[in-house]
Each structure stands twice: as structure tokens, then as C-alpha cells.
């Protein structure tokens, strides 16, 4: 999604994408390295979280402290994340410091010190991060439902598993960095205020290498949908739910997006109205579209006190089913306006744009223009959305709950 797009591919295959933005003094950039959770060898779940920490503990000729001071000295706001496909490291900063920041990131990616003593600290923090998840049932339930829903290994937790983190070694992790920081499959994105010609020259200088062999394709194993309950003596039952839908490459993609918005786009959408406004069952309730390159789903969360948890799940599932029974023109219009407006509001943030062009390129192999997306949203109608829903009835639901009470998941008839 871009109003105008800069694009260049280095000889080794590394992709450089840029979206210039008027009227901003900031820039945001990100390196998408093909080292996401699903790309890791078996038995190393959580290595991504360790890597994200370890590579910042010294690089090039700088030790951990000097590197951190250099990054902070540029006033940059670091953003590191691990998802199913990539480790993304990047930052938002004042545009004047962009070139210097990219030099530091080249050191971090290509010349991290990777000292053994620092590995132990990074690994301990990753283990602590998994323990801390036990005290955040809302986040945990969504990680668990994704793990259950997506074919293995796509849904692997980016935070990791304690037992696998405990056996992870510095050697094994170095090997992962060597294999998976594959420049030929890396996407670099920048948005905001920048000069693309000088970025290309700088990147050629820093990252031009011989082409690297592509990573082996991952083998997917599908999972049967099921219900899992994790007991926790908390105040609420946290419900996570997912069901399959079409991917962004599908021609029905925009109908699916509008359908999800009718269900949970704004405060007048169905879930908010039925679950919260009419029945007072929840404070937090919502569904959203979630996609990977290989599969996509509609993801729903609700948190509710134990005595209301069964009714909450029943009402949510009934709303999913009721969707294909009929949708009004007004509901579709509101969903469309909401999607279009969000698109434009997000286009004002350089961080959001740098992320958006990268994921478009990875998932679709190209970056969609703002105009294209607007037109495709505009082209949907109540008929097209209903047609889509009737052809693609919701299949089984994967449900995970965390809390003091287990609930029943009705056998779903598709």
C-alpha cells in the first residue's frame, strides 16, 4: 500500500523498498530477516527472541554498551519483533540520522559479536519472558490459539518454549543466525523522509554479497481444530478463538475483510453490539483478520467473568454463523468507510508504512497502491460479501480458554 513506491533489488537479491511521505521530518526503517519462528529448526522454539537480544550486545568494533550508546545517541526508537516468517529489526528516528543508523544496523546484522557470556543473559531473559506470559493470560490465550490453529510450524510461539530454550546453545544459535540472516531473502523497508538514491548506494556498499542459497521450504502439517483449556485462578476466563478464511492473494480477500469489519470493525459492529452493548457480558471483545503468507484466519478475543463465560462463547459463535444469513447495505457501507479511513490514517505514520510495504511485498510479491486498495474496498457490496460468506461457510473453530472455569464448545455444523 503506497502512494508512490521506490524499489531496488541488490545483485544478491536483497529487496529495498521505500515509501516517501510528505510533511514529515521522521523516517522509519526495518530489516525483515527470514528467521521467524516457523523458519527455525525443530527444538529451537524461542531462538528468535534470544537472537533479537543477543545481536544488540555488541557489534562491529563496539561492545554492548558502546553500541547501545551509539543507537541511543541517534535518538532512535528501536523496534524488534519476531513473527512466524521474520525477525524484523528497525527503528523510527529523525530523518537526519538515518544513514548513521543504517550503518549501525549493518554491523548488528553482519558483524554481531555474539559472545558466549552475553548469550547466557539473552537466553535467561527469553526464558523470563515466557514465564511472564503466565501473568498475562490475555496475550497468552491469543498465542496459544494461533499455535493450535495454524498448520505446524506456522503457529509457533515467537516467545518460545521453556524446555527448548533451556537446551538452546550459543553454537546452535550462531548457526541459525548464519543460515537465516540470508541477505538474498531479506527485505529492507523505509518510509518517511529519505533520499532513495543515497540509500541504494549505502545499501550496495554495506550489503552487496554473493547470492546466498535459498532457505529450505518448510513442511506444513495441518492440525485438527480443537478446544483446549488452561487452568488459572484468575478473575476472568480469557477466550481465544480462530477460524479459517481466505488469504490476501485470494480474489475474495476484500469481501472477507469487509465481512470481518461487519462482525467487529467499529462499535456498531455485531460482536460489540450483541456481546457488550446488549448483554453486558464483556469489556474486551473483538475479532480481526490475521494472515500469514501460507494461511489466514479470523481471530477473536473475549475476556469475561466465569459465570458469564459460557454465554459469551455461545453468543460469539452464533454471531459468526448469523453473518451469512444476511447483512444490511448500511452495515457494509460502515465497514467500507471504516476500512478506507483506517488505511489513510495509518498512511500518516512512517513506522506503520515501513511495516506495511514490507508485509505486502512478502505476502503478495508486490506492494499495492493506496488507490488499488481503496478501489477494491469500494467495489465490494452487500451482495458480494454475502455471496462470499455463503460460498465459504465458517468451518471448525479452534478455541483456547485460560481461567478458573472450563466451558463447552458446541460441535459446529458447517
Amino acid at each position: 500500500m503506497a502512494e508512490s513506491l521506490d524499489q531496488h533489488i541488490l545483485k544478491n537479491g536483497m529487496v529495498l523498498l521505500g515509501e516517501p511521505m510528505e510533511a514529515v521530518e521522521s523516517a522509519a526503517f526495518g530489516f525483515m530477516l527470514p528467521a521467524g519462528a516457523a523458519q527455525l529448526p525443530d527444538g529451537c522454539c524461542g531462538a528468535g527472541a534470544v537472537i533479537c537480544d543477543w545481536i544488540f550486545r555488541g557489534a562491529g568494533d563496539k561492545n554492548s554498551r558502546q553500541l547501545s550508546d551509539a543507537l541511543d545517541g541517534l535518538g532512535l526508537h528501536r523496534a524488534s519483533s519476531v513473527n512466524s516468517s521474520h525477525i524484523t529489526i528497525g527503528a523510527a528516528l529523525e530523518a537526519g540520522n538515518l544513514a548513521e543508523a543504517i550503518n549501525l544496523y549493518a554491523d548488528i546484522i553482519l558483524r554481531a559479536s555474539l559472545k558466549d557470556d552475553q548469550f547466557e543473559l539473552a537466553r535467561q531473559l527469553a526464558i523470563d519472558g515466557v514465564h511472564a506470559l503466565d501473568d498475562d493470560p490475555r496475550q497468552k490465550v491469543m498465542l496459544k490459539v494461533r499455535e493450535q490453529f495454524y498448520p505446524s510450524p506456522l503457529g509457533r510461539s515467537a516467545l518460545g518454549e521453556i524446555d527448548e530454550l533451556q537446551t538452546l546453545t550459543a553454537e546452535k544459535t550462531k548457526q541459525i543466525i548464519k543460515n537465516n540472516f540470508n541477505l538474498s531473502q531479506t527485505i529492507f523497508t523505509v518510509a518517511g523522509k529519505y533520499d532513495f538514491d543515497s540509500i541504494v548506494a549505502q545499501m550496495e556498499n554495506l550489503f552487496e554479497t554473493k547470492p546466498q542459497k535459498p532457505l529450505e521450504a518448510i513442511k506444513l502439517v495441518s492440525k485438527a481444530s480443537k478446544y483446549e483449556h488452561l487452568h488459572n485462578e484468575g478473575a476472568q476466563v480469557h477466550i481465544g478463538l480462530m477460524t479459517e478464511t481466505v488469504k490476501p492473494v485470494d480474489e475474495e480477500y476484500y469481501n472477507a475483510r469487509v465481512a470481518v469489519s461487519v462482525l467487529s470493525g467499529g462499535m456498531s459492529a455485531r460482536l460489540f453490539t450483541e456481546v457488550r452493548e446488549k448483554r453486558g457480558l464483556c469489556y474486551a471483545i473483538g475479532a480481526s483478520y490475521h494472515t500469514l503468507k501460507e494461511a489466514a484466519g479470523i481471530m477473536c478475543y473475549a475476556g469475561t467473568t466465569p459465570e458469564k463465560s459460557q454465554e459469551t462463547l455461545d453468543v460469539i459463535m452464533a454471531e459468526f454463523d448469523r453473518l451469512s444469513e444476511g447483512i444490511s447495505k448500511e452495515e457494509v457501507e460502515r465497514a467500507k468507510v471504516g476500512l478506507k479511513s483506517l488505511l489513510i490514517l495509518q498512511s500518516e505514520s512512517s513506522s506503520s508504512r515501513a511495516g506495511g510495504i514490507g508485509s505486502d511485498y512478502y505476502i503478495l510479491g508486490r506492494v499495492r497502491s493506496l488507490e488499488e486498495i481503496k478501489n477494491k474496498i469500494e467495489a465490494t457490496s452487500d451482495d458480494s460479501v454475502l455471496g462470499f460468506l455463503r460460498k465459504n461457510k465458517f468451518g471448525d473453530f479452534t478455541v483456547v480458554t485460560i481461567g478458573p472455569k472450563q466451558i463447552r464448545v458446541q460441535e459446529h455444523k458447517s
Partner: protein
């Protein structure tokens, strides 16, 4: 960027910062009321009222309100703090007038009994949700411990009991006193037409009745008490520390903010190098929060039960070294870079700009440009920060922890 202001005869302040090159616009009502303005009996009423404003007016039902917002594609919501209730929306410029009109209408809500009863359930669910978020729960409890009998210690959400016992009538009384035009600011930022916004406000808000809405302003140094709460379902120790700081009206607030960053930014701070880098704590941050007439430094640390002793010793050492040797030029320079770039990035979005614009008017009755803030931050010296440390001694804090049951 052009600043505009107007005051209606009933005291409603209307302010705007017009930026014709923005792709969006943001609008908000800033109401100077929050949990500190509540008596114990009605604790939670400000936050409950924030919910009730979405429940409609004599003309609109709750569903019609939600529909009306969604028709514009607005990203809209509201939040309540100890001392402010803010209603806001970010929209495409062509919808700003419509959304502003809607907010104006909602500022005179119906507050119907039947909506009140249903929404009470939603509020109780929200209270339960935050109980399951120990990082929030610990802050809420520590704030009460720190502020003790000072009203800033009141819980924002209120307790299960005070919310259960609250009556719609009490809420209506509170509303009449607190949502008075002289206690509110209407602010806009981004790409919009100032004259149009002014004339709507003039036409539709002028009949709102002025009230004697006041607030007790008292600074408070904090109780410095220490306490621990056990919860059987927790895996980690969550520690909150609060020490006193300067108010939102105090020019030293920029130095205080820099001190918070030096001690507890999530990377590269004293807490980071002493606790997180060494894997003693998985999270350790400090933030400075200024309020009306008072202020505080809030720290949050998350670690394993085994590490609590070492973590607290390290924190003691960090504060001791700060009071003995102060901060360095390098630390201050780095903290300035971080705060300045965050400020610039945030203010590039009309929604980000709206928040600063509104709060500056609430606290200072003053328009400050982003450049004003930048130059005040740049002007802070090591001596300014060190004299704050001396005066407020962040090492002398109130402490509350929530963690698993101890086996001993």
C-alpha cells in the same frame, strides 16, 4: 501551523492548531475531572460516566451513537485518569465537522437508568480484566498506598463495592457539577476549518450552564510505605515504586521527565544496565508523571521470586549513586535525544498533537508549540536534574509488590 482560540461566555475554551498539509484531523473534549475529584462513596464514577456518554442522548440511542461514529470511519474512544476524562476521534478531514457535532451532542447525555444498569456489568468486567493484568494492578494498588489519603490515590476504575453501590442519581449530580463548560476544553488539530468548528460550538454549547467546579490542589510527598500482596496464580514478582515529583505546572517537569528516562528508559538507562542487561529483571522501567499540583516517578519491575533481593539491592545502589554523584553530561544528552525524537514523531500525527495541545491548555492555559517544548528540553542542564534528585530523592519511595505465595 496556526494556533486559534476562543472562549464562550459560559467559559468553554475552544482551541485549535490548523495544519493544512495533514491528511487527517483530530478532535477531543478534555474534561477536567477524574478519580481524584470523587468522594469514597462514589469512587469510580468518573470512569463509569465516560462509558455512559457513549450510551446516547435524549435523541440518540447507544446503538445510534455507535452507528453515527462508524459512518464517518472515525477512530474514536475515550480514557479516564486520576484527573482528566478525554473523548477523542481521529478522522479524515471531510468528517471532522460531523464528528465534532456528535461529540458536542454526547457531552449532554441522557444517562438513562436502564443503560446505567447494563453498563455496570461492563465496568465490573473491566475491573476483573485489570485484576488479571498484574502490571496494571500493582500500579493501581501502589498509587493508593503512596497517595494514602490524598485524593490522587483513588482508584480510577473504583472498587467492586463502590461501583456496585453507585446509583444513577449520584452519577447525574456528579455530571452536572463536573461536565460544566468552564471545566472543559474542546480541541482540534490537523487539517480542519477553524471558523466552522467555532460556529458549531458557539451555536450548540452556549446554553451549557456554568458551575463552580473546583478541585482541591495539594502537593503530597507520599507515604513511603512498603507492602506486598500474594496471589496464588502469579508466576512472577511485580514491583512498583513511587516517589514524589514536580507538578504539571512546574517548569522543572522537563528535567523530571529527562531524569525518568535516565533512570528507567526501557533501553540504555540505569535500570537497564543494572537490572535488564544482567538478566536480573526481565522488565525495569521508570516514568515521570506530572499531575495537577503534584507529580510522581513511577517504576515497574518484573522478575523471578529468587531475584527479588538482588533486584532491590541493585535499585538501592542505583539511587545511592545518583544522589552521591548525580547524572552525567552524556546521560543527559542521550536522554534528550530520545525524548526529542519521540516528541517529533508523536506530533507528526494530528492525534498525537491533539493530546499535547489539550493537556497544555488544561494545565497551563497556554498554547505551546512543539518548538517551545523542544527548546525547553534542550535547555535543561545537568545541574537542573541533579537539584531535582537532591530535592525529591527518588530513592525514598513507596513500594508495593504483587507476587506468588512465598513458600517459607
Amino acid at each position: 501551523m496556526e494556533f486559534k482560540k476562543k472562549k464562550l461566555t459560559n467559559g468553554l475554551a475552544i482551541i485549535g492548531e490548523v495544519n493544512k498539509s495533514a491528511k487527517s484531523a483530530a478532535v477531543g473534549f478534555f474534561v477536567k475531572t477524574g478519580s481524584r475529584d470523587e468522594g469514597k462513596q462514589i469512587n469510580g464514577v468518573s470512569h463509569f460516566l465516560e462509558h455512559m456518554l457513549f450510551k446516547g442522548t435524549e435523541r440518540l440511542s447507544a446503538f445510534e451513537v455507535n452507528e453515527a461514529f462508524d459512518r464517518t470511519g472515525a477512530q474514536f474512544n475515550a480514557f479516564t485518569s486520576e484527573e482528566n476524562t478525554v473523548f477523542y476521534a481521529a478522522v479524515l478531514p471531510e468528517y471532522l465537522v460531523e464528528v465534532t457535532g456528535l461529540w458536542i451532542e454526547l457531552m449532554r447525555p441522557a444517562l438513562r437508568d436502564e443503560d446505567f444498569d447494563i453498563e455496570k456489568n461492563v465496568i465490573k468486567e473491566e475491573i476483573a480484566m485489570y485484576k488479571d493484568l498484574p502490571s496494571y494492578d500493582v500500579l493501581d494498588r501502589c498509587r493508593s498506598l503512596h497517595f494514602d489519603r490524598h485524593p490522587c490515590g483513588n482508584s480510577i476504575l473504583g472498587g467492586e463495592e463502590s461501583v456496585s453501590n453507585l446509583r444513577a442519581e449520584q452519577m447525574r449530580d456528579y455530571f452536572t457539577n463536573r461536565y460544566a463548560p468552564n471545566n472543559m476544553v474542546l480541541a482540534c488539530a490537523g487539517n480542519f476549518d477553524w471558523d466552522q468548528i467555532c460556529s458549531i460550538a458557539q451555536a450548540r454549547c452556549s446554553n451549557w450552564q456554568k458551575q463552580a467546579a473546583s478541585r482541591k490542589l495539594k502537593d503530597y510527598a507520599g507515604s513511603k510505605k512498603k507492602s506486598r500482596v500474594e496471589k496464588s496464580n502469579l508466576a512472577r514478582e511485580h514491583i512498583c515504586l513511587i516517589s514524589p515529583g514536580v507538578s504539571a505546572q512546574d517548569p522543572r517537569r522537563f528535567a523530571a521527565s529527562l531524569l525518568g528516562t535516565i533512570i528507567g528508559d526501557h533501553v540504555g538507562s540505569r535500570f537497564f544496565w543494572g537490572l535488564v542487561d544482567k538478566a536480573l529483571a526481565e522488565a525495569a522501567t521508570m516514568l515521570f508523571g506530572s499531575m495537577d499540583g503534584t507529580g510522581a516517578f513511577y517504576s515497574y519491575i518484573r522478575c523471578s521470586s529468587e531475584n527479588v533481593g538482588k533486584v532491590l539491592d541493585t535499585i538501592r545502589d542505583i539511587f545511592r549513586s545518583l544522589s552521591e554523584s548525580g547524572v552525567s553530561e552524556d546521560e543527559l544528552r542521550t536522554a534528550k535525544n530520545k525524548i526529542l525524537s519521540a516528541l517529533v514523531i508523536k506530533n507528526e500525527l494530528p492525534m498525537g498533537r491533539l493530546v499535547d495541545l489539550g493537556f497544555n491548555w488544561i494545565y497551563l492555559k497556554e498554547h505551546r508549540t512543539v518548538e517551545d517544548d523542544i527548546s525547553d528540553i534542550r535547555a535543561v542542564t545537568v545541574e537542573d536534574v541533579n537539584s531535582l534528585i537532591e530535592k525529591y530523592n527518588p530513592g525514598d519511595f513507596t513500594q508495593l509488590s504483587i507476587g506468588p505465595v512465598q513458600s517459607s
